[in-house]
Symmetry: C2
Subunit: 430 residues, 2 copies
């Protein structure tokens, strides 16, 4: 029986899930893994012993240094989130030779490079499965399961709130604001959902995944990030009729000398498996060489889903030998890779605008697109009404972001166009 | 730099893929993982050095004992497949204290229990990622990625040949025999495809997965196994019109005291992600507690896909410390679980038969079903022709296999029924 002394810092939603999990499955961990987890100290700024079941002899404290100074604690679990004092806690724990488990995506996205180097120098493990997709073993799959493969590109549905909202807008025809309200009622969105719906949460996770797949730490400011607040019900219905689905994707692609890293609403074929990932589910679809395309999906949010990733880290950490190398800590960086600016990136586009329903209108618009080198693959104008504007939807061929923006500015200035054009990028995933 | 001396036995499709992989990525393994893999000896009954590139100082031999007797070889990779002499090779290697990597599903399905115990007693690792779904890290996900979770049930598309055939029958309207021929032409099916299309290959993989998820070694003879040879194009078209897809699934479910383990064509909703897994792709969809539903999919066959799983095992094995525990070797068995007989298992059914197109026919058939306690959810009779038999499709409510068989025997004897009824089980996956 291997005994592991744990200090847990942060007794919020995930932290209390971890405590429950440790308590409930105590016998299971002994029987199956030959492991005895001892929660030696639990730290939270607002802790009351009577609130917590199954703590046994656990010490309670409000000072995280009580955990870090305790020489008997081998593993520190950091679940307070945010940059500070999480960064100081993780850094100090590693410096004191303790292994660290964290679910903190913001910390890993911003300071991962330094922390991985520190962990390696200290011969400690730094585990972070729950930082992306909660307990879905995305980190483990990339770092260990596909070890030996290199990666060409990946596409991730990595924010459950946005996927839930887009699913409700599609399946139950809700407006964006009604869908967001429902997500909040169901506990799938924070009372302040800004970081989810503006794409920043996805950008944090994308930065972590890009590091693991390509060996490049991409600064958050280098990730083009666009949320879902401007997606209208009309766009979802047009997409449906074109056999397309709108998903908020985190996308990264590697070229010879460059990588792309971006988060934005994306139109994909409804026949692609990612299109069927609905509700709060997360998914990652990645192209590994030589294995080929791999899809991993599951519930990417929630108390026990996140606790599951922490427990998996704990079991794995305790089962690895003392002289093990944690594969992701060993990543040889590819510093020569440059991040491409969004302006230079080529995609196909869906564009929609309201235009006067008169002969010659489409030729004017097609003319502007043509002068910017943008080919048109299809035009859809369903409604006809000679006295008012009607919606026009076009699917374009590949063009750079830059040319599309210039063309849209010109189109918007036409007197025959009565709304700001909507543009959504498309990706061909197979 | 950690140096690992390897003996590889079996230089067929997968074996030569592994040799290529080792050769091509030699620098990559050094830079990224700090590992140097030395292929010390390559064994095949029909080996010629001139056939093989990149072997350097590798010894060639036709006698596998040359590998097993070599004290410098730390890891034996067994890629000859089949039971013998694979079983003797793996057993001897473990007894001599060598780690073993194998892609041999038949061996693990039949002798896994004994081999895992032997590996544990010898403090050796026995790795088998490529035995299910080639390089898709299904084994790693279950044993390590979801460590701490328990499992309620899983559904696997675990034979690429069958999935390819069913996809071609659905998307390109091929007959079964034409689809099989195409699979053979493309190299996705063996010249003798019996083990694939009769479901036995899936049953081997199901046995391995049931062991890892439930801790129960299910004998192959206890797995109800039905292939896809009786699936007709008519059934696929009816399924499509009912928003259903036909997949050959390996299914296992755990109750309190029992488990189900079966392989058969299954109707599932087209909206479920498993329905969009097409062609040679494999997938597993499993319910983990407390994490929730998880789906993992990718290319489950092919030389480099299988080699990828072997290399992943090799990198992981070499990176783990000497005192590591391989989690799957530690599985505490659940010997009390009894395997349920197919007779007792309840599912919904799709049934189809040719019947005379006269008033009263449906009531006769419904009467027989009713007397066997089988409710009918829907009846479809598209064509009408008073002078000949027409196809009738019914979807039933839940019933035991036993009652369905009895009812179908009676229905078949009716003079108004002109064909042997087809019955396909249905599963509600969410």
């Amino acid at each position: 029986m291997t005994k592991v002394n744990i200090g847990l810092i942060g007794y919020g939603t995930v932290g209390s899930g971890v405590v429950q999990f440790l308590h409930k499955r105590e016998k299971y961990f002994r029987d199956k893994f030959n492991l005895e987890f001892v929660l030696r100290t639990l730290c939270d700024w607002n802790i009351h012993k009577k609130d917590i079941r199954g703590l046994g002899n656990t010490n309670l404290t409000k000072r995280f240094m009580d955990v870090l100074d305790d020489k008997n604690i081998e593993v520190v679990i950091e679940l307070i989130g945010g940059m500070h004092p999480a960064e100081e806690i993780v850094t100090t724990a590693l410096k004191k030779g303790k292994h660290v488990i964290t679910a903190n995506k913001e910390l890993i996205a911003n300071e991962g490079k330094r922390l991985f180097q520190l962990a390696k120098a200290q011969n400690c493990q730094l585990c972070f499965e729950s930082s992306v997709g909660a307990g879905i073993p995305i980190i483990k799959m990339i770092t260990e399961g596909l070890a030996g493969n290199t990666y060409g590109e990946f596409y991730g549905i990595i924010n459950g709130t946005c996927n839930f909202i887009l699913t409700e807008m599609t399946k139950n025809h809700l407006s964006f604001s009604k869908a967001l309200q429902l997500a909040q009622e169901k506990g799938f969105a924070e009372s302040n959902p800004t970081l989810d719906i503006n794409g920043m949460d996805s950008a944090h996770k994308l930065a972590i995944l890009a590091y693991l797949t390509f060996g490049k730490f991409v600064k958050l400011s280098d990730i083009y990030t666009e949320g879902i607040t401007h997606i209208s019900h009309d766009d979802i219905e047009y997409a449906e009729s074109l056999n397309l689905a709108i998903k908020l994707l985190g996308i990264a692609k590697r070229g010879e000398e460059t990588i792309e890293a971006r988060v934005h609403p994306t139109l994909i074929s409804k026949d692609h498996p990612l299109a069927s990932i609905s509700g709060i589910y997360n998914a990652i679809y990645l192209h590994a060489k030589p294995l080929g395309d791999v899809l991993l999906s599951g519930e990417g949010a929630g108390q026990m889903a996140a606790a599951s990733g922490v427990i998996s880290d704990l079991v794995n950490l305790a089962s690895r030998g003392k002289d093990s190398n944690l594969l992701c800590n060993l990543y040889s960086e590819a510093p020569h890779l440059k991040v491409r600016k969004i302006d230079q990136i080529k995609t196909k586009f869906y564009i929609r605008f309201m235009a006067v329903d008169k002969p010659g209108v489409l030729s004017k618009i097609a003319g502007i697109l043509g002068r910017h080198g943008i080919g048109i693959n299809s035009v859809n104008q369903r409604a006809h009404n000679p006295t008012s504007a009607v919606p026009v939807v076009m699917l374009t061929n590949y063009t750079t972001e830059k040319m599309m923006r210039l063309a849209l500015q010109k189109i918007q200035k036409l007197s025959i166009v009565k709304s700001k054009p909507v543009a959504i990028r498309m990706e061909k995933l197979w």
